[in-house]
């Protein structure tokens, strides 16, 4: 056998005999195809819709039922006036609202053009425009059908993008970017740092010393916590100064939530490192366990609502998802804890669970 053929054969054997890597290499793409295929959707479905109908009559009810009939929308409330709309948008209960003018039915009946206001929550990527066009589609469908029957109506839709009127994409990405940066620093760097100690053998000495596990962990991660914090400040400053991303809510709250999220990611990093003893594996583990879910399933880039339910379910246990909601809420919607307390509570609970698990898993001995 020629030398080169021998080398090829050897490399092939190495791959075949390294079961773990083989599994990852074969099943990872399969998993990714599923994830990417389902997660990357620019179409939206089950948009949470509110209808404001001050003077219901045949035409408004007809339109309402058309909105209700499509899968694209899910009517969550029908309101007599727009008073509570703000709150519904702020809490995220409603993603889009169709507001009929008070004399909509009247004007339509008299053959005059009538207005409908379409308000969409544009703090979600892609969704803002998509939601608007779906609503327009329903309205235009109604107009056409009337025309076919021989009548004529003119409806003038007016669209408003809430929270992100210019639909600047930077506004959409920055909150998710903060989550991403924090994940890298907290999870990835921590995992690598801990496994590096194991590889060089210095971990043995640390373990044999009177240092308690909690001291070793905190000592390790405090530096990264500070770096992560500074990083967040830099990202926010950059976003504000260069891209004019709004910060409508409280900066303090944002930073506090940021610290909470850092703790969560750190615990994840520690958990990953406690199961591995090589930096290489720790890196792959951290990437697979934190970065990939953060990019795909946190709603950072791809809207969660359009994913099939298994993925939506999984996204609930991705800490980044909750942080992205919180960050968006604070930066773009300008809301505070009064609306974000559920998400904060969930993140808090996750942090506690993960910190406890990480401390337990950090063994006092080598084995």
């Amino acid at each position: 056998m020629s030398a080169f053929a021998g080398l090829l054969r050897k490399e092939w054997l190495h791959i075949l005999r390294d079961r773990r890597t083989l599994l990852v290499v074969i099943f990872m793409p399969i998993l990714q195809v599923v994830l990417f295929g389902y997660a990357i959707r620019t179409d939206v479905s089950a948009i949470r819709l509110a209808i404001v109908d001050p003077s219901p009559d045949a035409s408004t009810i007809e339109l309402r039922s058309r909105f209700g009939a499509t899968d694209a929308f899910r009517i969550v409330s029908v309101l007599p006036n727009a008073g509570t709309l703000d709150r519904l948008f702020a809490s995220g209960a409603v993603q889009e609202a169709v507001v009929f003018d008070a004399d909509f039915a009247n004007r339509l009946a008299r053959g005059l053009p009538a207005r409908i206001l379409i308000v969409a929550d544009a703090s979600e990527p892609n969704s803002g425009s998509a939601m608007e066009s779906y609503a327009l589609g329903v309205i235009q469908g109604y107009e056409r059908d009337i025309a076919v029957k021989g009548g004529a109506v003119r409806i003038i839709p007016e669209a408003r993008m809430r929270f992100n009127p210019t639909r600047a994409s930077s506004n959409l990405f920055v909150p998710g970017l903060i989550a991403f940066v924090l994940t890298i620093i907290s999870a990835l760097m921590t995992a690598i740092s801990l496994t590096r100690e194991k590889e060089t053998g210095t971990m043995e000495i640390l373990l044999v010393s009177p240092l308690r596990p909690i001291q070793i962990i905190v000592g390790k991660v405090l530096a990264y916590l500070v770096i992560g914090f500074v990083s967040v400040l830099l990202v926010v400053a950059e976003a504000r100064l260069i891209f004019a991303v709004p910060l409508r809510g409280s900066l303090l709250l944002l930073l506090a939530e940021g610290v909470l999220f850092i703790l969560t990611s750190l615990s994840l990093g520690i958990l990953i490192s406690s199961r591995t003893s090589s930096q290489r594996v720790a890196m792959i583990g951290a990437l697979a366990g934190t970065m990939l879910p953060t990019i795909l399933l946190s709603g950072f880039i791809f809207p969660i609502e359009s994913m099939p339910w298994p993925l939506r379910f999984i996204s609930n246990i991705v800490p980044a998802k909750w942080f992205v909601l919180i960050a968006r809420g604070i930066m773009l919607k300008g809301v505070g804890l009064e609306y974000l307390w559920p998400q904060t509570l969930i993140l808090f609970a996750m942090t506690i669970v993960l910190v406890a698990a990480a401390t337990r898993s950090f063994r006092v001995r080598l084995a």
């Binding site: 056998m1 020629s2 030398a3 053929a5 021998g6 080398l7 054969r9 050897k10 054997l13 190495h14 005999r17 390294d18």
Partner: protein, 250 residues
């Protein structure tokens, strides 16, 4: 410099510098064909650098050297083909079987399939490893791995083989069995160039050299050197030579 086919290795004023640091400082020595040559020195004395030059992995800064008749500057690829190499760190692929390792190295050195098969059979027979041909190397005890690695280094019947601390950590009986393999191959005409930290192994060599701070401070047969320096063991000789510079080492 005239080519002298009688010497397996010829080095004249061989020097290697790294920036301002001289790792190998004008060393001059020969290794005769068929001899077992012990190349000793403290860590950091320049041994590893010198070996890298002689095995074609590093080019010298100045001076000349020929290995197996080939010039280290211009014919390093030839050198790599003609020598065998085995070190403590680089041995056999652990997740490949014994037979696979042998076939791989046979292929790398351009041996025909028949040749490989013949030599593998006789090698395994001699080592008593015939039943382990399909065992992964990682399942073999350390001593057997070392002996096998040595035999594999000789598979392509090189004229000179370089061994870098081949018996580290191995039990005393296996160590001696290893050296008997070395004697055997030297008796067949292979030149063996070996480094070791076991001073009693230095005595097994026909001639030894001791490097201190980049220079060769002793060169000769063990008996000659012991007499010359008035010591009873090579260990004492080593200490005698290295102690003047022991404070500066590191």
């Amino acid at each position: 410099m005239t080519a002298s086919p009688n010497e397996a290795v010829e080095a004249r004023e061989l020097t290697r510098r790294f920036g301002s640091f001289t790792a190998v400082d004008h060393i001059t020595f020969d290794v005769h064909v068929g001899e077992v040559f012990g190349f000793l020195g403290a860590n950091g004395a320049g041994k590893t650098t010198a070996i890298r030059i002689l095995t074609g992995l590093l080019s010298p800064t100045s001076g000349t050297a020929r290995v197996a008749g080939h010039d280290v500057y211009t014919e390093s690829e030839w050198i790599k083909r003609r020598i065998g190499y085995m070190s403590q760190k680089f041995s056999l692929y652990e997740d490949l079987t014994v037979a696979e390792n042998i076939r791989l190295y046979g292929g790398i050195y351009d041996l025909s399939r028949d040749t490989i098969r013949e030599r593998m059979a006789s090698m395994l027979e001699r080592l008593g490893l015939a039943h382990a041909a399909r065992t992964q190397v990682r399942a073999l005890p350390l001593g057997w791995r070392q002996k096998l690695a040595f035999s594999v280094a000789l598979l392509h019947e090189p004229s000179i083989v370089f061994l870098d601390e081949p018996t580290s950590g191995v039990d005393p009986i296996t160590r001696r069995q290893f050296w008997e393999l070395i004697y055997e191959s030297a008796a067949r005409g292979t030149t063996v160039f070996v480094t070791t930290h076991y001073m009693d192994e230095a005595e097994y060599c026909d001639r030894i050299s001791i490097m201190v701070a980049g220079r060769i401070e002793a060169l000769g047969t063990p008996a000659e050197l012991k007499q010359q320096f008035g010591v009873a063991t090579i260990d004492e000789l080593f200490v005698r030579l290295a102690r003047p510079t022991a404070g500066a080492a590191g």
